[in-house]
């Protein structure tokens, strides 16, 4: 069950962590940009991972707001699927957003994302007294304990 990538966005809408595993199928890039925003030109084949993160954020942010407008304040979207990939989403009450892109066959990752928040993010990032409370540019999130545990979690538990 391949996991393509994983992102964390903080409450300031900044991408504070991203991790890529499998190289995405080449067609995935085109798909992602189309679902993310029509403004991105189709001729754009090479995008940096920074651009990807921004597109992903824009997508989940708009989708979340739309879902709340239609389904009420308590509603949340869980995942969406394209013909190339599946995007899973989990948001904490503190507005930290966890996003994971996987292949189509994977089951819902909502619980997995919640586990990453509870067991990895809170334990190794938030509770680390020396890490800053805000993480501009990913400071404090990219520590060894967090990264290693995430790697283990994804490779062992999820596959």
């Amino acid at each position: 069950m391949p996991v393509y990538s994983f992102y964390i966005f903080d409450r300031h809408a900044e991408c504070i962590y991203k991790r890529l595993w499998q190289p995405r199928p080449t067609s995935l890039a085109g798909k992602a940009s189309r679902s993310g925003s029509d403004l991105v030109g189709l001729g754009q084949t090479v995008r940096s991972t920074d651009d990807d993160a921004k597109l992903v954020f824009g997508t989940v942010f708009s989708l979340r707001n739309m879902v709340r407008k239609l389904g009420g304040e308590e509603d949340n979207f869980i995942s969406y699927t394209t013909s190339q990939y599946k995007l899973h989403y989990y948001e904490t009450p503190t507005n930290t957003k966890f996003v994971m892109l996987t292949d189509l066959k994977s089951p819902s990752m909502r619980i997995a994302l919640q586990q990453i928040y509870i067991n990895l993010f809170v334990e190794y990032v938030v509770k680390n007294p020396l890490s800053p409370t805000e993480h501009p540019g990913g400071v404090g999130v990219n520590n060894e304990l967090f990264e290693e545990s995430l790697e283990q979690f994804v490779t062992r538990v999820l596959s």
């Binding site: 409450r11 300031h12 809408a13 824009g58 009450p93 809170v122 509770k127």
Partner: protein, 206 residues
């Protein structure tokens, strides 16, 4: 008052099963040492000590809220009243639109359940009354004629509340209005809602 009973059940359950406990006297002595050191550092400028305690609490609160949410799994509070209950019972869970249940919060972290009371008619202010306060055990304020009027010994709690609620998009103002250490009958903290914080948008791109 079903939200109140629900909040206290959450608080009780989490306190029993999921919280690592430490010796209360260790906490009291550690906290007391911090306050004493601050008083010394700022030359008994108690206003400044209050401010520093509040700031420390704020930084603690911003982290504590995550732990609270992770442990309790509660969602956002629908309104400020629910938040108040949650704070008191769990003291951790703040919620969107509103409030964290401070009651639950205090329970989880201090095993104290303050009473929520004295609501204003617009539901934007309430008081937390502490029957017991582990931070203040064994404490007697210095007898210099000023500390009893100026120092809020447990002021760190105001900061904790402010920091943790801010993380769930609720901006509040909190201050103590009475303290048994000063000879008052009760220890009371006044909490007022300032505003709900809007979602932040990503910066515009050129």
């Amino acid at each position: 008052m079903s939200s109140t009973t629900k909040a206290s059940r959450i608080g009780e359950e989490i306190w029993k099963t999921r919280v690592d406990k430490v010796n209360a006297e260790l906490v009291t002595l550690t906290y007391g040492t911090i306050v004493a050191q601050l008083c010394q550092d700022y030359d008994s400028d108690y206003q400044e000590v209050n401010k520093q305690l509040d700031k420390m609490g704020y930084n603690i609160g911003m982290r504590l809220i995550e732990d609270f949410l992770a442990k309790s799994g509660v969602g956002r509070c629908a309104n400020f009243r629910e938040t108040a209950d949650m704070i008191a019972k769990v003291r951790t869970s703040v919620i969107r639109n509103g409030y964290m249940s401070e009651q639950v919060g205090f329970k989880i972290f201090l095993n104290v359940t303050p009473t929520v009371t004295n609501w204003t008619s617009d539901n934007n202010q309430f008081s937390l009354i502490f029957d017991e306060n582990p931070l203040a055990d064994f404490v007697e304020l210095p007898d210099d004629g000023r500390s009893q009027d100026e120092l809020w010994f447990s002021n760190i709690l105001c900061g904790v509340l402010r920091g943790s609620l801010e993380m769930v998009q609720v901006q509040i103002e909190a201050h103590f209005v009475s303290d048994v250490l000063r000879g008052d009958d009760t220890t009371e903290m006044r909490v007022s809602l300032v505003r709900y914080i809007e979602d932040e948008m990503p910066p515009e791109e050129d």
